[in-house]
Point group: C3
Chain length 340, copies 3
């Protein structure tokens, strides 16, 4: 690919004389060779970029690296993401079409350009949209619908009646549509509650490896457009996750909780059931959230509190042992004063 | 199914004239149509039930919803669970019998009415009881015994010599019988300790998606009758989980810890090894438990403390920054008094 | 196996007359029969060993159990680990060679003595070293290299271009080489960042069931020699884990963090990205680590603090409610003094 094509993809211009440079990929400043471009997203990497053998560098508008061909963009990290997508290997890992060993029910409708890896099982009445790439050893159960340009990685399990949009990525080991954890208690024993709902995953959602998404009781568990989930995330039945919300690894969301749009959720955070988390809020790593969170609010800790309040409490905690001693001293001195 | 049959399943009676109503399922108050019943488990849903198109509603004994056919029960949530089970789809997802693509060792004994999904592997000397339903892509390793009426969902892995009772559910992505995490340390390097034990799962246990149950070192890791595990739970080697204990998602139990009967364990709680958790105790979400917990005790937090004590500490914490200032003021005033 | 061979494996000697005893295995003191040996690693088990039917007992140098044949070693727990390995069943679970149902690409190079279980998929240009044992239903994607004497358990997924050393164990449900969680944000939406790196796993590493190891962005995520991971551990892209570091279940390590050598990490601990954890440090269970940790430092809690400091803070916390009351009393008494 010519450097001019990359400049075009970034919506930027180039100095004369370099537009025909042949670019083979993108790499880190240290790793880039003369046929790769790199990027400068943080000042810390200035020196590494300066000594890089890269063919060109994506920089912030107005910045320059002496001696380097610079591609100016509003946000070089976004530029990096876009060019990385340009160089992403989209060939089906297991070859075109369906592997001979895949077990595909004759009632399934497989779109044109779809690839299905070895030993993948596709159930009755499944529909898969154009160009979606399904890995090896996946299970796609009956009546599930998958959109176009999706990527389902080896070993993912998508249970029955799941509805998946376009450009969705579901990584290895993820399970979509498991039963929710619902039990009524009678005479100290549990009566299991079967689930009749499903999971709905909208366009552009990514689900990390080993994440578990339970189906709804009657209605759907919903992941709205652009939601991004890291590895080993637990999403319980009837949860709704809003547009463009990001959830880091090992976070867990209990039943019927609604997460708003553009929420950022740190790793290992946990949410009780039946609460509402407002749009554009921030939930710190390891936070334990047991109450509603307002729009734009930033909370962390367990119990989750406003982030500035918590930092003050934490700072005070460090002074607690000394405080106890000081109060003892005050007590003594007051007793002495009283005796005067 | 006639409404009279549902009333009978709940052990309740009906007003005259409605016993022949044909009921097709159970649904939420909002979702129910004229052929479905619903339930009223919380006062909050009173209005939703009142305006529901449902054919009938399960209510608490002595309650009534004007204009609705009411089925009175001791606990309408339990009633809901029971009727949901009545309408649960028990047909094998992949058809009757064993899928032609399943790889079943000739020494395996498969009970009558068992269904086995595509590409499931069943090893030597495995025994599976009557009517159990095995999904697609499961692995059931050699010498494992599975009882009657179990459900093993697509993609579950059950390692060798596991013993499973009747009516057990193991969801997708769960692994039963992995090796425990045991390592002796010699000269700063680890010497791995192989495990010779197995996992024993008694009747009516449910195991959620992606949960990992390690086999015992010499003896068995045991999940006793009626224990219910949510998703992504970790159970280490030699753990014993008592009857009717419920463990929410992402909780983890370290080696040789014994959990009593009817314990309720919140999500993301963690337990060190070699401790005893008493019957009927309650462990809050995210609790870190490093000591024994007495029968009936309710603990939470990290370190785990009595729940009321912890709530008082948390309330005090919020006042810490102000307390520090107040103590500084007291110091000044005492100094002033001393100078008088 | 003769008892003399076991003594030799432990580098110890035997009293005369017992060297020819035939030993069939190792067991717990309570479980051992007359053909099994046991071990005494903790004083607590002295009585159990004394009443054991065992054929011999591994003890600490200089210790003795009356009436028992004792094998003296520096560390009887290490001795137990070594003898357990002697008795480990190394036969391939699914028979010798490759199962007929395995789908192995003709370009794959499978070493001598390798066993491959039913329905395992092996991609193009994969290389597997001698004697490695691959379970059923594994996926080993293209260009992955696996060394000699490895054990890959049923249902593990190893994604493309992973490099694995010798004697590595990867348990069921683990995923190696999933994409990292990288997203750039543009106008409140995420732009996904594809990963071009891989995962490198050195010799003698163990990875527990359901653990997820992401590939690097450009370079490699690396697990160095002898690292031991428990179940459901999350390792993000570009993380480096040092030699002989042990990570307990459900811990999570964010992107680009470097963990040193011989670090001990407790269960459910979490690490933010881009920090350095020094050699020989100790990270307590459930710790939340957001800053560098120095060599040899012991931290725990969230925020993670020096372990002794934290214990003092925790002890003070318990006295907080009383402290608040005491400060109120001091205030009153000072006011009274001031009025004098």
């Amino acid at each position: 690919m010519k450097l001019s094509a990359i400049a075009m993809a970034l919506g930027t211009s180039l100095p004369p004389g370099v537009t025909d440079r042949e670019i083979a990929g993108i790499a880190s400043p240290q790793g880039a060779d003369g046929r790769q471009i790199t990027f400068l997203a943080k000042k810390d990497f200035q020196a590494a970029v300066a000594s890089s053998r890269c063919a060109a560098v994506i920089v912030r508008k107005g910045e320059a690296v002496p001696g380097k061909v610079c591609l100016e963009t509003v946000d070089p990290y976004v530029g990096y993401a876009k060019i990385a997508q340009v160089f992403e290997d989209l060939r089906p890992l297991w070859g075109k079409g369906s592997a001979p060993s895949a077990v595909i029910d004759p009632t399934a409708e497989i779109g044109t350009g779809v690839s299905v890896g070895p030993l993948t099982v596709i159930g009755t009445k499944v529909r898969i949209g154009e160009r979606s790439r399904i890995g090896a050893h996946c299970v796609i159960e009956s009546e599930t619908v998958i959109g176009a340009d999706c990527r389902i990685d080896s070993g993912a399990v998508i249970r029955s009646k799941t509805v998946i949009g376009n450009r969705v990525i579901i990584q290895s080991g993820a399970v979509i549509g498991s039963d929710g954890f619902g039990n009524a208690r009678e005479n100290n024993r549990y009566v299991r509650i079967p689930c009749f709902g499903n999971v709905v995953i909208e366009d552009d959602v990514d689900i990390g490896a080993g994440s578990m998404i339970d189906r709804g009781n009657f209605e759907s568990t919903v992941l709205r457009q652009g939601a991004k989930l890291d590895n080993l995330v637990h999403v319980a039945h009837n949860v709704i996750i809003g547009e463009d919300t990001a959830i880091a690894a090992q976070a867990g969301i209990s039943g019927s909780t609604r997460i708003g749009k553009r929420v950022m959720i740190g790793g290992q955070a946990g949410f009780v059931g039946h609460i509402e988390i407002g749009d554009d809020s921030f939930i710190g790593a390891k936070a334990g959230v047991s109450n509603d969170v307002k729009q734009g609010e930033k909370v962390t800790g367990y119990p989750a509190r406003d982030i500035m309040t918590l930092r003050r409490i934490e700072a005070s905690e460090a002074r607690l042992p000394e405080l106890l001693k000081e109060v003892k001293r005050l007590r003594k001195e007051i007793e002495a004063l009283k005796r005067r």
